[in-house]
Structures are given as structure tokens and as C-alpha cells.
């Protein structure tokens, strides 16, 4: 009996502790990292590879599109830096930006520029942008739609509901079914601003799915379906459409010929501390950029021959 009772007590106490830890965990992470920065002021100029022991915990949250890459790179980073603990959470770009701007996390992952999401411009200005990879998005259709390529204008007409049958763009006599992403999605924002050049309203009867996996499944199965997917998701179950005659390939994106792409951002609030900086620097090493980044279907940010700013202006590097 005695044993049983204390066991119950212990269980409750643990759950209470766990609950309170949920609230403070983020702050704890921050404190730990700030301490590291404060304890080793002399080491700020030394490279992490030159033998300085890094320690502390790093918390990253945000974009689910970027999450697998950050997780994989974090694991490798922790292998070489035993004192560092990196936690990667999802939650979406909006969550990542909110949390990093409120200093709840060290890194906020986002598919879009902070200026586009945060309504408070002063808060967005506090954030420091680290572009670690590029994601290109291609228009895709059901294979039976019978179309290889669409022009910008045709895409606009389809996604605004002016064209409703594939035969109007030279395909099969089949009604077009739009498989969209939700209005707040980063992928949709990228597709709209760089493929269509305009925001679109949701159309009656259109289908919205949140996960790229589901979008691919729906496009592959639904007759006449059209949608858009990141290059890493493309396979034979869907037909990848050329955009204005340009094939959405990695080479075309890197060369700046294919315009529908966006950076994957890792934002820090102000300049990062030593541990976070070392982690972000590691992201831009050749080892990661030509390794993990390519392996997981992203395009290395370092390879890009063009760069783009918040306003969408593309300039050759």
C-alpha cells in the first residue's frame, strides 16, 4: 500500500513538473545559449572547427517543409559537437516567425520572408535572415490531362477559374479540378507570386489540402486535377508541367531560367550566439549544401547564380 501511494504521488509530481517544463522549456533553452555566449567572450572569433568546445541547447521551430533538412543536419552537427543539443520542432512558418520574434526559440524556420508574414515591420526588422536552401515549385497535373506545358497566362486563367476544361489549353476534354493549398500556405504564396504574379481567390469546388503528400495523391488519382508541388515530391504518378516552355529542373532554377522558387529561411532574433552561429555556418558548408540539401530534394542556396530580395527582384550574383 505504502509503495503504491508514493508511486501515485511520484507520478503526479512528474506530470506536474512536465507541465511546468512545457511552459519554461523554451526560456530554459534561451538562457542556456545566452550563458554560453557570455561565458566564452574570448572565443567569439575562433572558428568552431578549430577546436573550441561548443555547448548549449538550440531550439528551432517553424516550417514543416524545412523541418526534415534541419533535423538531419542538426543530428550530424550534434555528432561532432557533443556538448550541443539541438531541438527541431514543426508548427508552420507563421509559428516559427512568431516564436523567434518573441524570443521563445533561437531559430525560426520559414518558407517566406519575415516581412511578408509579420504585420509589425519593426519586429521583422529585428530578425536576421539566413537563407540555407532553395525550394522550387512546379505546376503538376493528372497524367491524363494531356498537357505538357502551360504558359503563365494559361495558369492564371486556370487558377482564377476562367479556363475550366483541359481542351481549352490543348489537352483532353476533361473538366479541370484545382487542388490548392490553404490561403496562408507558404508554398501557395510562392506559386502565386512567381508563377501567377497575382494572388488568387479560392474558387468554389476547389480542393485544399495541407500536406504535399496528400496533394500528390489527390492529383494522381483525380481526373483532370491540377496543382503544384515542390520538386522533391515529383514522381511518375503526376505529370510535371513546363512553365512557359521551361522545364522545372534544378539546373534551370540554379541558372535563374525557371522563376518559381523561394528561399528556405532560418531566422534568428538579432545576431546569433556562438553555438547558433556555428550551426548556421555549418549549414552553408559544402558538406551540407551538396550533401544533405541535395539528398533531401532541396536546391543548395550557395549554388544559385541569381538572388532575390523581399520585393521579388531577381539579380544575378
Amino acid at each position: 500500500m505504502q509503495f503504491k501511494k508514493s508511486w501515485i504521488m511520484a507520478l503526479t509530481l512528474t506530470s506536474v513538473l512536465a507541465l511546468s517544463a512545457c511552459g519554461n522549456g523554451n526560456n530554459g533553452g534561451n538562457k542556456a545559449t545566452t550563458n554560453t555566449g557570455g561565458n566564452t567572450p574570448a572565443a567569439t572569433n575562433t572558428e568552431s572547427s578549430s577546436g573550441t568546445k561548443l555547448s548549449g541547447s538550440v531550439l528551432a521551430s517553424g516550417s514543416t517543409a524545412l523541418q526534415p533538412l534541419v533535423e538531419q543536419v542538426a543530428e550530424e552537427f550534434m555528432k561532432t559537437n557533443a556538448g550541443v543539443d539541438i531541438q527541431v520542432q514543426g508548427g508552420g512558418s507563421g509559428t516559427g516567425l512568431t516564436q523567434v520574434s518573441e524570443k521563445q526559440v533561437d531559430i525560426g524556420n520559414s518558407d517566406v520572408f519575415a516581412e511578408e508574414k509579420l504585420k509589425d515591420a519593426a519586429k521583422a526588422a529585428e530578425l536576421v535572415d539566413h537563407q540555407v536552401a532553395v525550394v522550387a515549385i512546379a505546376a503538376v497535373s493528372n497524367p491524363k490531362a494531356g498537357v505538357d506545358s502551360l504558359t503563365k497566362q494559361q495558369l492564371i486563367d486556370i487558377f482564377t477559374g476562367k479556363i475550366t476544361n483541359w481542351k481549352e489549353v490543348g489537352g483532353a476534354d476533361q473538366a479541370i479540378q484545382i487542388i490548392n493549398r490553404p490561403a496562408s500556405s507558404g508554398t501557395r504564396a510562392t506559386f502565386e507570386s512567381f508563377a501567377l504574379g497575382t494572388k488568387t481567390e479560392d474558387l468554389k469546388g476547389s480542393i485544399q489540402e495541407d500536406s504535399s503528400g496528400t496533394v500528390k495523391k489527390m492529383i494522381g488519382e483525380t481526373p483532370g486535377a491540377i496543382g503544384y508541388l515542390a520538386l522533391s515530391y515529383l514522381d511518375d504518378s503526376v505529370k510535371t508541367l513546363n512553365y512557359d516552355g521551361v522545364e522545372p529542373s534544378v539546373d534551370n532554377v540554379v541558372a535563374g531560367k525557371y522563376p518559381v522558387w523561394a528561399y528556405e529561411h532560418m531566422y534568428t532574433n538579432g545576431e546569433p550566439n556562438e553555438t547558433v552561429k556555428a550551426f548556421l555556418d555549418y549549414f552553408l558548408t559544402d558538406e551540407v549544401q551538396t550533401g544533405d540539401v541535395v539528398e533531401l530534394g532541396y536546391i543548395p542556396a550557395s549554388k544559385m547564380q541569381v538572388s532575390r530580395d523581399v520585393a521579388g527582384t531577381v539579380t544575378p550574383k
Partner: protein, 300 residues
């Protein structure tokens, strides 16, 4: 000499009592604090848009245009509110007869092996995660509807079908409990009067247990109303009031799950999602109230 151990035992008893009481009060207090703070949090975030004047309550509740990302955003949640009610009612309509039949089968018709076979199966249904229901809906129900009926398969009908399977266990187990707790003499008197089994079930058993069965239906509807993931996968999520069962529509929960992560805290769009959460919470209160009222009727 004999008094001492008794006293000691009494003292120990008191201490144990005290510890138990402190522990209990602590747990109850914690629970109350959690519940109150959650209600407060959802309510305060939910009314933020109305307080700041960003959105009018009437515009939110009855507006049919939802375009939060437009240059002049509008936050009409009526399509989602109506969508939530529509799938919930449809799911209850599909699931209730099935569940009541299953409950009757388990308690009245074949109480022996029927119960032994059906009970675990129904309990199993309630343990399956909703993402699995959603995926089964997407892989089985949606293609089936697409091939046999008009539309693309995705839509209100698919959502209602998936939900009806999900709420089957809730309604069945509540109904079965109600039927099993029915006083034996009611049935015996009915049989003694020469009534057949069907007559007994339809004239005696069902009318007497009706409030309890309705409790199960309302609980099932509450579950359906709050279910997010499975519905989101199969309903299509177009922000419009559907004109047909085979048309893409949205529910409150599906819009919240789609938008919450992608919007930033404090933005009007994010607050509008919290307003929807508030509507969901108020609806849950209504459901709880309904169950309470039914229970009271049950006692009389």
C-alpha cells in the same frame, strides 16, 4: 498499555487522511486552474478581433466570404459554421440507427456471443487514430464516391461517412450501457402480457431508454463537431457553403488546422481562427448542456 498503540494508529490514520486530502485538493485545484485558464485563453484570443474592431461579430458569424490574404481581407466564417453543422448532423443521422441496432443486438438479441464479439470490435474502432480514418477515407471512400456518384469524391458526403464511423463506438457503447441497465421486470412484464420480442423492443425498451440513447447521440455529435484531422483530409476545404453533398466544403476545425501554423500570432487572420475555436468551445458547452438536460430527463 493498550491505549498507546490505538492512539498511534489513530495518529497515523489522521496523517494519512491529511496527506490524502492535501494531495486530492492539489489535483482538483490544478485541474480547475488548467480548465479556467484554457477557457480564458481561447475566449480572450477569440474576441480580440471583435474588440479591436477589425471584424464585426455579425460579419464573422454570417459573412459568407472568407479571404484573409486578400488586400481587403474579409473574415466571414459562415461557410465553416454551416459545414461543421452539416457534417455533424449527417454523421449522426448515418451512425445513430447503426449504433442503436448494434447496441440492441448486443444486449437484447444475442447477449451471449453477440456482445463478446461486437464489444471488442467497437472498442477497437474508438482506439484507431483519426489520421488513419482520414487516410482510409482518402484511399477508399473518396475513390468509391468519385467512381459512383457525381463530383470528385471529396466533399461533405465523404466527411460525413468518415465521421459516422468515428462516432459509432461512442453512440453504441452509451446506448448499450443504457439498454443493459434497464430493469429486467419491465421486459418480463411485457413478455408476460404476450408481447413479441419486437413489440417489447419498439414499445417498451426503446421509449424508456430514449433519453439515454439520445445522450449517446449528442456525445457522438460533440465528437464529430470537434474532429479535425480526418475531416480535413476528405472534405476538400473550399471556403464556401456547399450546395450539394458531393461538393468541397470546410468545417471550423479543418480551417483552424490548415491555417493555425501558417499565420503569425496576433495577426487578424490568426485571431479569426481563435474566434472559430471560441465558436467550437461554445458549441461544446451547448452539447454538454444538452447531455445534462437529457440525463435529468432520464432520472424522472
Amino acid at each position: 498499555m493498550r491505549g498507546q498503540p490505538t492512539n498511534k494508529r489513530l495518529e497515523k490514520h489522521h496523517i494519512e487522511n491529511l496527506i490524502g486530502r492535501i494531495y486530492m485538493s492539489f489535483c482538483v485545484l490544478l485541474l480547475i486552474v488548467i480548465i479556467v485558464s484554457m477557457v480564458y485563453f481561447v475566449a480572450s484570443k477569440g474576441v480580440a478581433n471583435f474588440v479591436s474592431g477589425e471584424v464585426k461579430v455579425s460579419e464573422f458569424l454570417f459573412g459568407t466570404k472568407w479571404s484573409p490574404e486578400a488586400d481587403t481581407p474579409s473574415y466571414g466564417a459562415f461557410p465553416f459554421i454551416s459545414g461543421s453543422f452539416l457534417v455533424t448532423l449527417l454523421a449522426a443521422l448515418i451512425a445513430s440507427p447503426l449504433s442503436i441496432c448494434a447496441a440492441l443486438f448486443m444486449t437484447e438479441i444475442v447477449p451471449g456471443w453477440g456482445k463478446k464479439l461486437l464489444q471488442p470490435v467497437i472498442e477497437l474502432l474508438s482506439g484507431i487514430p483519426s489520421v488513419v480514418y482520414g487516410f482510409v477515407g482518402l484511399s477508399v471512400i473518396v475513390p468509391f464516391l468519385r467512381d459512383t456518384l457525381p463530383g470528385q469524391g471529396i466533399g461533405v458526403a465523404a466527411g460525413a461517412l468518415v465521421l459516422s464511423v468515428m462516432i459509432l463506438p461512442t453512440i453504441t457503447s452509451v446506448a448499450a450501457d443504457a439498454l443493459a441497465s434497464l430493469p429486467q421486470n419491465l421486459k418480463e412484464s411485457s413478455f408476460a402480457l404476450g408481447a413479441t420480442r419486437w413489440q417489447t423492443i419498439s414499445r417498451v425498451i426503446l421509449p424508456t431508454t430514449f433519453p439515454a440513447i439520445m445522450t449517446g447521440v449528442v456525445l457522438g455529435m460533440a465528437r464529430a463537431f470537434g474532429e479535425a484531422l480526418a475531416v480535413q483530409m476528405v472534405i476538400g476545404n473550399a471556403p464556401f457553403v456547399p450546395h450539394s453533398l458531393f461538393e468541397s466544403a470546410s468545417t471550423l476545425t479543418s480551417v483552424i488546422t490548415l491555417g493555425m501554423g501558417n499565420t503569425t500570432m496576433g495577426s487578424p487572420q490568426n485571431n479569426a481562427l481563435w474566434s472559430m475555436a471560441l465558436v467550437l468551445m461554445l458549441m461544446t458547452f451547448v452539447f454538454v448542456l444538452l447531455v445534462r438536460m437529457l440525463e435529468r430527463r432520464n432520472e424522472i
